[in-house]
Structures are given as C-alpha cells and as structure tokens.
C-alpha cells in the first residue's frame, strides 16, 4: 500500500475544520449574493449614466404621479383619490383602479428616508425602486432555486437573473412600473410556496399568503400565481405525491390569500367571482376530497375502504355533475365566459385582434418574434432544456414545480411579448440548475483525476458549491503535482462515476471551459443589452451622427411649454399614448390616457383625429379641448409618431363610430 504522505497530514484537519468549512462556505455565498445584488443594481444604472435620472416611458409617469400624490397627501387621501385631470369629463377613481403595491412601496421608502432626515425627492426614489427590487428578486431567485436544487444552483440562478436582458428591459433605473416589484413578489411567493412544501411549516404558509397579497397589490399578473400553484397541486395529487405538506402549502394560501386579495380595491370581489380564480377553488375542493380519502383509508380496513370508495364515487359523481352543470351554466351566461379581455387574449391569442383592437394596438401585446427570444433570454434558451432534464434527476415536489413553471411561462411568453418577463425567472432557474449540475459533473471528474491521491478533505471542501468549487479545484490543481497513480478514489468522484460515467480529465476540463464560456458570452450580451437596447428613457432620444451626439428632447419641450404657458384648467387632447405623460409632466387635463378603460372615449378621440378639420373641431369643442398635442416625426425621422399610429386611431374610432371606415384611409382606395 503506497498511500502518499499528504493524506496523513490532511486527515486530522478534516473534522476540526468541519464547522469552519461550513462557516466559510456560508460567508462566501453571502458575499457572492451581496455581489450579485450589487451587480443587479448597477447593471441597471446605465440609463442614469448614459441619460439622466428620469422616469421612463409612459406608464411609469402615471405611477410617479400617483406616488407624488401619495407622498404629498397621505394614504387615506390616496384611497379616496378621484382624479379629475384625466378622462375629462369622466375622471377616474385612482384609489380603486390601480394596483397600489408599487406606489405604496416607493411611498414607504420615501417616507422612511424622509423621516430619517434624508431628503431624497420622490422622483429619485421612484427612479431607483426598480434596480433595488431587482437585487431583491435575484436574492429571491437564490432562495427558490436553493430550495429546489441546492446552494450552487441557487447562486448560479441568482447571477443569471441579475443580468437577464428580459428582466433588465423592465427594471432599468427609471422604469418605474408595476413589473419592477412584481417580479420580486412573484419569485418570492413561489419560494415561500416551495419552502412550505418542503418543510410543511404553517409559518411559511402564512408568509406565503402575505407574499401573495403583496403580489396581488403589485400586478395583475398575480392570476398567474393563483393558477400555477393549483396546477402544481393537481399535478402532485395526480402523480400520487399528496402529503400533509402539500395540504399545508396550499389550503392556507387559498383561504388567507383570497381574503387578503379581496382587500385590494382593484381586485375586490373579483377574487371570488371571476374565472381566473376558479381553478384555485376547484383544486381547493379536490385537495380536501383527497385528504379525506387518505384519512378514511387510514382508519378503514382495505376491504371496507373498497366498499366505501364505490359508494362515494357513485354518489359523488352525481353531485359533481350537478355542480359542474350549474357552474357551466353560470359561466356561459356571461358573454366573455367570466374571463377578462386580457386573460382571454392569453388563452386565445387571436381573441384581441378580433374583438378588442385597443389591446391589440399595444406593441407589447403582440406575440414575440424568434429573435426576441434570443435577444431577451439569450443563451438561457439553450440551457432551459438541459435544466428541465436536470429537474427530472430526481423529480421532487419542488423540481416538478419548476418544470411546470417553465412550461406554462413559455406558452404565455409566446402569446405576448410582455410576458417574456414571466419566462425570464423560470428560464434563469432552470438554466441555473443546468449549469450547476453540469459543473458538478465536470469538476467531479477533474477532481477524480487530479486529486484522487490526495485526501478527501480538499475534495469535499471544494464540493460545497459548484461556483466555489471553481476556484478551489484550481488551487488544488496547482498545489498538487500530477499524481496519476491508481489510488483510492474519492467517495464523491466515485458517486459521480456511478451516475454519469467516468470522464477523462482533459475532456472534462475542455467541456468545463466551454460551459464557462456560455455564461460569459451571455453576460457580454446582457451588458450590451442593458447599455444599448434597454436604457433609453424614450422621452429623450439621442442619435449619433458624424458631427457628434444629437439629443431630441422635443417631448419634454412640448410638455414644459404646456405646463408653463397654458392655463391650469386647460384641456389637452392627444392620442392616448401621451395621456399619462401629459398629466404628469405638463400637469394638464387630458381626454384619454394609457389606462384604456373606456373604449368609447378613446374612439371619440380617434374619430376626431381621423375626421376632417371642421368635424374634428366640433368634437374637440364638445370636449372643451383647447390644445391638441400631435407628434410629428417626419423631420427628424422619428418612426413612432402619430402618423404611424394613425391607422389604429382609425380602427379604434371605427370600432365604435361606424362612419369611420379603415379602407377610406388606405392608398389603394384613393386611386
């Protein structure tokens, strides 16, 4: 036996270093997480550095204005706010029609800072809310993935989420929209669900309901949660994975979550009345039936149980049929089958373009193109399948949830560009799992080859997580001379050997390099996307030409002019895209805005825009309009001006007022 001398020295340190090793791993992953958070925050600051600290685009301006109101007038005024600056002459009840999560979050941050005598403006807080919450979201991803596949996968997934372009596009500094906090809430709710599922603790179940409540406050996308979790529960039941943990994870969520959701004014009784929530109640009933069956099974003898089953099934089927018949009749009696337009357009992608042009006219409601997948999730698109396979090795409750999540979100992202955002976390989680598992295999093989002779110690220490393993194996590599004697193979490598077959070290190293190149390349792409593609605030445009940088600040020029040179109560008509910006930046009353709740009103403006001057003047006059804001991009070549949107004005106007006919405005009918 020729055991090398190194082993004699290494073994005694093994157990004394045990706690130290764990502590070191903990501190290391804490710092990695901290750095991931810093990266998530700072990669989103390109917009501030390249442009300025300003609110972006359209909807964020509305949220900003609401936050300003909240900061100025307090929470009670906010709930009762009737906004007469918009939808003239109808107005809008803001308190009851917004998802208040984002506003309340930013308002709370602002209030907290100001009570600590840190006088940041509301605008600054709003601008930086999204980057802060993306750091939170990447930490939540870590927690979720850790619950599914361990620390290594968690760290990888968190790092990927911190820089996935799809999420960056919605959360750069200044992009003050619901999605900014909602993605964090979404992932965190999923994490708590998985955590409850793994621990069966009622504490986490309660936290889960609260996280769900926060999600309901933040974004209409909460219906995704309340459908996905029941689907997973159903999946678990069907595949025979019912357990008391599953019951604890699900039942409190439905009861508490629904009660809490009903507290949000914009949801209210929708939480029990619309079809979006129907699945959760159905599964709630099913899980109780199943739980009951398991209980009965436990107390009856197998023979008695069989008798009981036949009895219950025959009676139960009859009752179920009756109930389902009633339900179907109820649902069918409503014209949209109890679904809201937006949800229906998700289930039937052709629905919106057929019936609701206003939803179809929004560019982010279009189905995505293939390149946009590559643009938005880049290399993750290739790692996802591997991740799904890794989730099946072995399949647990948690990993089956991830598989279900990725499958549904891929479908939704295929329907609407906007929902690519929901796909991004799922893609990051699965890719994180894939990468981490692959690294495990390769580092294992390399270690087996290189350090088989050396003690277990280093090997195991290096194995704590795949990412930490990187550096440590390298260290081991340099320390130890190449010893290729056939030695006692380390336990771990042996396991690997059993699972994946032995790989020669050179091949494994090459593979690992190739694998490392993937996330590296993708991170280059992500930084590029963050810097170039997604940082433009869209209210100020820049173009680079041979004689330097040109800044087009015409939007704000117009809004500033309106703000300072028109009467406070003047009404400004514009196409609905500019409604939010006009109320927020120009502080003037608008006829329609981006909250397209009243189709007729928008159609009226569309009709006015597409009518001859005299008729248009009459329409506008009847609306007390004094100024009309139109955007003309012909001179500087700005593509998305009102001429570009003109056909939608015609279509939407024609949808309500039949005398506007689209063919009249097309060239072919003119000549």
């Amino acid at each position: 036996m020729a055991a090398p001398e190194t082993s004699t020295a290494a073994v005694p340190t093994l157990y004394t270093n045990n706690t130290l090793r764990n502590a070191f791993g903990g501190v290391l992953s804490f710092f990695i997480l901290l750095l991931i958070g810093v990266m998530a925050f700072s990669i989103r600051l390109f917009s501030v550095i390249k442009y300025e600290s300003v609110i972006h685009e359209f909807d964020p301006y509305f949220n900003y204005r609401v936050t300003q109101f909240l900061a100025k007038n307090g929470i009670y005024e906010f709930w009762n706010w009737f906004d007469d600056r918009t939808w003239y002459p109808l107005g809008r009840v803001i308190g009851g029609t917004v998802y208040p999560g984002l506003t309340l979050t930013a308002g709370t941050i602002w209030w907290l800072l100001n009570s600590l005598n840190i006088p940041l403006s509301v605008e600054t807080v709003c601008v930086f809310t999204a980057p802060i919450f993306s750091a939170f979201a990447s930490w939540a991803t870590y927690l979720l993935t850790k619950e599914v596949k361990g620390t290594g996968a968690g760290l990888t997934a968190a790092a990927l989420l911190a820089m996935v372009p799809s999420y960056i596009s919605r959360s750069v500094a200044g992009s003050y929209d619901n999605e900014a906090v909602a993605i964090f809430a979404l992932i965190f709710t999923f994490y708590l669900y998985i955590k409850t599922l793994n621990t069966g603790s009622l504490f986490y179940a309660t936290l889960n309901s609260i996280a769900y409540f926060y999600m309901v406050c933040s974004w209409g996308g909460y219906t995704f949660i309340i459908n996905l979790i029941p689907m997973h529960v159903l999946l678990c039941i069907v595949t025979g994975r019912f357990s008391s943990r599953l019951y604890i994870a699900y039942a409190p969520l439905v009861v508490l979550g629904t009660l809490l959701a009903a507290l949000v004014p914009v949801v209210g009784f929708n939480a029990v009345m619309t079809s979006e929530h129907f699945a959760s109640f159905l599964v709630f009933i099913i899980i109780h039936v199943v739980a009951f069956v398991y209980y009965i099974k436990g107390i009856l003898s197998p023979k008695m149980f069989k008798v009981a089953v036949t009895l219950v099934v025959s009676v139960g089927l009859a009752v179920c049929c009756a109930v389902i018949a009633v339900l179907i009749a109820l649902v069918a009696s409503s014209p949209t089958k109890g679904w809201s337009g937006r949800s229906l357009s998700l289930l039937d992608p052709t629905y919106a373009s057929k019936y609701i042009p206003i939803i179809a006219s929004v560019s982010e409601h279009q189905p995505p193109t293939w390149p946009s997948y590559f643009m938005d999730i880049n290399v993750l698109a290739f790692l996802v399948p591997a991740g799904i396979i890794a989730c099946f090795l072995p399949l647990s409750d948690a990993s089956s949830f991830v598989v279900l999540y990725i499958a549904t979100s891929v479908y939704f992202s295929g329907v609407m560009v906007r929902l690519m955002l929901v796909l991004a976390p799922a893609a990051c989680i699965t890719s994180g799992i894939a990468l981490s598992q692959a690294f495990d295999v390769f580092t294992g093989s390399i270690k087996f080859q290189l350090t088989g002779a050396s003690s277990n110690t280093e090997v195991d220490a290096a194995e704590t997580s795949s990412s930490t393993a990187e550096s440590q194996t390298d260290a081991v590599k340099t320390e130890k001379p190449e010893e290729t004697a056939k030695n006692r193979p380390s336990r771990k490598s042996k396991k690997k050997e059993r699972e994946h077959g032995e790989k020669p070290s050179t091949e494994a190293k090459a593979e690992k390099k190739r694998l490392l190149a993937l996330p590296l390349e993708s991170s280059v792409h992500c930084v590029w996307a963050a810097a170039e593609a997604y940082s433009a605030p869209s209210i100020v445009l820049t173009s680079r030409s041979h004689d330097g940088l040109h800044v087009f600040d015409d939007f704000r020029e117009a809004y500033a002019w309106l703000r300072h040179n028109t009467d406070v109560d003047d009404k400004v008509a514009s196409w609905w895209d500019y409604g939010y910006q006009t109320t927020a930046m120009a502080n003037r009353t608008v006829i329609v805005d981006n909250n397209t709740w009243n189709n007729t009103h928008i159609a009226t403006v569309g009709t006015a825009m597409s009518s001859p001057e005299r008729a248009a003047w009459e329409i506008f006059h009847s609306l007390d309009v004094k100024y009309v804001l139109v955007v003309f991009g012909g001179l500087v070549g700005y593509p998305s001006d009102d001429i570009n949107k003109f056909l939608w004005m015609v279509r939407i106007g024609g949808g309500v007022f039949p005398h506007i006919k689209e063919p009249d405005y097309l060239v072919s009918s003119l000549c």
């Binding site: 055991a3 005694p12 600290s53 704000r556 500033a560």
Partner: protein
C-alpha cells in the same frame, strides 16, 4: 405711431415750479441714457455750484413718479477725470428726501457731498440710476415674424429743483433702426445714438418730454421670482442652487408659433424671442447642473478658465413675448474662496444676486443655509434687505440647520455685490454626522451579534425548545465522537507510516515502539468513547442518528483490529526475514479488506456530518 404724445407731467410741473430750493446751481449736466438692454441705465455727470452764501452739503436729485417707481438702483460717486479712475470709488451717501414744498409728483433723493460747498465752490459727481420695466412694447402684441418695438419716454431737459446752466443728453440705442423719435431743436442722430442739446440756462423744474420708439430684440428676461439657496458645508463645498421663474417681459406673442420656421430662420422668424441666457459663475465652479421639474435640460454649454466659468443655458423652448418657464441651476464652489475667518468668527462672503447677465429679478430670495450648530448669526448687506431666519432639516440633521433668508424686490445686475454672513461654528460639530453614522452601524452590528448569540425564545419550557436544546447537545456529542474516530484513523495512518518506515529502514524496534504507542492511544480513545455512547443511547433525540453512530463505532473497531493484524503480520514477516514480496502477498487480502472498511468508515463519517 406718430400720434403718441405724452405730456403727462409737463403741466403740473410748470404750475408747481416754485422758487429754487437753495442757491445751488447745476453748472453742467451731461446725461447718457443707455437703452442697449431692457434695463435702462441713466448715467449723468453733474457739476454743482454754490451761488448762494450759505454752506451747502446736500444736493437733491429729482425723479418723476413714473420713473421713480421703476427705479431699482441709484448711486452717486465723485467724478474722476479720465485716466485716474483706478482706485476704488467711494460712493456718496444717497437717501430719500422729502422736503416740504416739493410737488408730490416728484420723488427726491438727497446726495450728501463729501464736504460742504462754500460760496462759489463747485463739485462734480456722477449719478447712475437703473430702471426696470421702463421700456414699453408698442405694439403690445406681435406675431412670430414681427420685430419688437419699444417706446422710451423721458425729458430732454434735466428735471431738477435747480437751474441748469448747460446740459446735454444722449440716448444710446441697441440698433440704428428707429421707428420714430421726438425732434426738438438741437437734435442730432448718429447711427444708433440720438443727441439732444446742448441747452443753456434752463430754469428749474423744466420738463420737455421726448419719446423714442425703436427696435429692440434684446432678451427681455425677467425673473418673476428667484430663490437662491447657498448651502455651506465645512467639508469643503459651497453649494448654490438657484430656482428661476422666468418670463419674457417684452411684447406679447400672438398667433401661432411655427417651430419649423423658427428652426429655418431664427433671426427672421423669431427675432423677438431669446434662445439663451448667459450666467457668469465664479471661477472653479464645479458640478454644474441645469434642470427643471421634469428632468435635465440638455441644451447648455459650460466654458471655464481661471478667471470665470461661463454657463450658457437655453430654455427648453425659445422664449417669445409673455412666455414663461421655470428651471433650476446648481453648482458647487470651493469653500476656501468664499468662507473666511475674522475675530474668531467665520463669515461667508458671496455675491448677492443672480449670475445671469442682464436679468431683472422682481423678487429675489437668498437663503444661506449654515451648518447645523452655527450660532450668533448676523448679516452685513450693502443695501437694505428684508431678512428673517428659518431652519432646514437636511441629511442626517437632528435639530436642523439655521437658514438666513434675505429678500429684495426689483433687483438688477448692479445689485450683484458681495454680502457677508457672520456666524460662530465649532470645528468639532463637523464630526457629529460621521460619528452618528459610525455609531449607527456599530450598534447595528452589536445588535446582530447579540441576536446571534442570545437565546431569545419566549418560552423556555416549550417542547420544541427543549427538543432543540437536546438536539444541540446531541450534535455536540456527535462532534466529539467524530473527533475521537478521526483521531483513531490518524493513529491507523501512523501505524501504516511506521510500516512504510520499516520497509525502508528495516528498523523493527522503532516499528514496535510505534505499535505500542498506538495501542495505548487507541485504548484511551475507546475509554473516552464509552461515556459519549452511553449518553447518546440515553438521549431520545439521538434515536435517529444512533444506529449510524453505533455502526460507525463498530466499523472503526473492526478496522482497528484489521490494522493490528496487518501490522503484526508485516512485523512478523520482517522478523522472520521474509522477502518483501512475500509479505506483500500475505497482506494483500487484508489490505483489500482494509481499504473497503476505511471507505465505509469515511462514508459513515460523511453521512453523520451531513446530519
């Protein structure tokens, strides 16, 4: 335009013209009216002579009411001949006077002469009067393409309570384009300058109205309100923030505004508009920004050298007549340029008004924010201002920073003089905020440490708490067991090492000694292990791990025996002088078993570790 005739004061003055107030006579008056900006400046050189017998030390200056209400600034200085005006001029004290027998339509100021004028003495001095809103746009509304015409009215004769012997007047216009002007005797025009006079022996209170109607496309920039905030940080910075509410004070714009026309020919289609303003910031100004409530305004240029920093700002849109805008500029200045110390007091010495060129400010509020903890605050301003104090709560303040607020209306660039704010401030107060931060973080970390180490569970007798405690004990014991096992394993390794030494050196005695030592050690260890195992057996929460631990101990014992056997075999072999290969053959089987056992022990250790 010709039909305008303004003779508003003529009658009243003629009627009220009373005998001269005193025996002073103005022997020579040269007046120059500068209409080259929207701020009207009248600079007059006067030679006053005492024709009476009494000594006179005051000279009265008269302004018609119309002018007086627009007057922003008045200064009188002793006249100095050309070439020697290098040394700083000491202004003569000027104060509002209100003699009894003066017409009510006149506002009078009295200038105190440096020394009284005896009979026959004369004294020459300069008076500069600055007027705002003195130019009236005629017509009042113009379109984008029109040029802006303004009207200025004054008197060709110097309005004075004294008789004037010789006088002349020149009116300087911005441009040679003159719509109309009053022609009197001795009126000449030279390019953009109109000359009236000289006139001789004009009696007191004579007024001969003139009106000049001319083109003026200069920026009529008027700040309705300007709030300047000057914040002192003793860490080395003076931060100045200026909030402007600006209006174009010229002829109102009417009709539509075509951006395209303006862009194509800004000088023709938009002559009356102004596109930019220039601010002369102090040298070494840094971190300059220019923004409004909806974000940064990108149209600005900054040039700087060692003497000054020039900031050119364009509002978001060209300013036509009557258009308003609001914006903020801010900049930082090095502290040592503006903060000084004298007599144990610190004082800030900084300019009062806006750095903008040719800007009229209707209401100027200057706020000087002193560091928290300043006391004994006093202000020295070169002209009367309204003042009061406030407090402002800013970053990390507890009781707020004292703010000195100064307010002045009708401010012109001539007011841009230095003023001083004196205060006491202890150097130690500077450390307050950093210390606060440090202690804040310190207590946070202390709290974290306390939280991690303290047992803060509420009920010490609850089942879960007890179970947890027991589990911790069990863990500690298992740790000990692991330690012992690992020491056993080390001993085994030592034995193996001694065997290797044996094969190298053939020293049987040393090997035997090693064996003896190992035997003793192992015995001791197994003794130590016993109480631990009994504890684990008695503890209910260890039930889960117990079988594994027992298995581990058993395996270890087996391993121990095997090692001993192997050791004996090898030593035996050497004693019997068997060949190395022979010994190896004998041990080979044992060696295999040993390796397998060792592997199992390692596995078990790992497993227990993971629990």
């Amino acid at each position: 335009m010709e039909s305008f005739r303004f003779c508003f004061l003529m009658l009243t003055i003629a009627i009220l013209a009373s005998p001269a107030l005193s025996d002073l006579v103005l022997s020579k008056v040269d007046r120059r009216i500068y209409l080259t900006s929207h701020i009207v400046r009248i600079s007059s050189t006067m030679k006053v002579e005492n024709a009476g017998s009494e000594k006179e030390s005051k000279v009265l200056l008269a302004f018609p009411e119309q002018q007086a209400k627009n007057m922003a600034y008045l200064i009188a200085t002793p006249h100095e001949g050309k070439g020697k005006g290098k040394n700083p001029v000491v202004a003569l004290p000027v104060e509002a006077a209100n003699p009894k027998d003066m017409p009510a339509a006149l506002t009078l100021y009295s200038v105190s002469l440096p020394k009284g004028l005896a009979e026959g003495d004369s004294f020459t001095f300069d008076v500069l009067a600055v007027f705002t809103h003195a130019l009236r746009p005629i017509p009042e509304q113009i379109t984008q393409a029109d040029i802006q015409l303004v009207l200025y009215q004054d008197s060709a004769h110097y309005l004075s309570p004294y008789a004037v012997k010789v006088q002349s007047l020149s009116v300087k216009l911005p441009d040679s384009r003159i719509e109309s002007y009053t022609k009197l005797e001795n009126t000449k025009i030279h390019g953009s300058e109109i000359k009236y006079g000289p006139y001789e022996n004009i009696p007191s209170f004579s007024y001969s109205p003139i009106a000049v109607h001319f083109e003026s496309n200069l920026p009529f920039a008027v700040a309705h309100e300007l709030v300047r905030e000057i914040e002192i940080s003793h860490w080395g910075n003076v931060q100045v923030t200026e909030h402007y509410k600006l209006i174009h004070g010229g002829a109102q714009s009417k009709g539509e505004f075509s951006r395209l026309d303006f862009q194509a020919r800004p000088n023709v289609r938009g002559a009356s508009a102004f596109r930019y303003l220039v601010a002369n910031l102090p040298p070494r100004a840094h971190s300059v920004y220019y923004r409004d409530e909806i974000g940064n305004i990108s149209t600005s240029h900054l040039r700087g050298d060692s003497k000054k920093t020039e900031l050119l700002i364009e509002p978001r849109y060209p300013m036509f007549g009557g258009w308003r805008t609001a914006f903020t500029i801010g900049y930082g200045l090095p502290l040592q340029d503006f903060l000084f110390e004298s007599d144990g007091k610190r004082f800030l010495n900084i300019t009062f008004s806006s750095p903008m060129v040719e800007l009229v400010i209707d209401a100027l509020i200057v706020k000087v924010v002193l560091p928290e903890g300043s006391s004994d605050i006093s202000v020295a301003a070169p002209f009367p201002v309204e003042q009061w104090q406030e407090t402002k709560i800013s970053h990390l303040d507890i009781d707020g920073r004292p703010v000195v607020v100064l307010k002045k209306t009708n401010v012109v660039p001539e007011h841009n003089q230095f003023f001083q704010v004196y205060y006491h401030f202890s150097q130690l107060s500077m450390l307050r905020e950093p210390l606060m931060l440090i202690s804040g973080f310190f207590f946070f970390f202390v709290a974290c440490i306390v939280y991690m180490h303290a047992d803060i569970s509420i009920s010490k007798s609850s089942a879960s708490y007890l179970a947890k405690q027991q589990w911790e004990e069990v863990q500690a014991v298992i740790q000990q067991v692991q330690n012992i096992i690992s020491r056993c394993l080390t001993t085994h390794d030592n034995l193996e090492a001694s065997l290797r030494d044996l094969s190298r050196t053939g020293n049987i005695q040393a090997c035997k000694a090693a064996r003896k030592a190992a035997d003793g050690l192992l015995k001791e260890l197994s003794k130590e292990l016993k109480p631990l195992l009994t504890f684990l057996q008695s503890s209910p929460s260890a039930a889960q791990v117990l079988p594994k631990v027992e298995e581990l101990v058993a395996k270890e014992r087996e391993l121990q025996e095997k090692v001993m056997v192997k050791h004996s075999t090898v030593v035996d072999g050497y004693e019997k002088k068997l060949g190395a290969r022979d010994i190896e053959n004998r041990v080979a089987l044992q060696q295999q078993k040993l390796t397998a056992l060792r592997q199992e022990v390692d596995d078990l250790l790992e497993f227990i570790d993971e629990i």
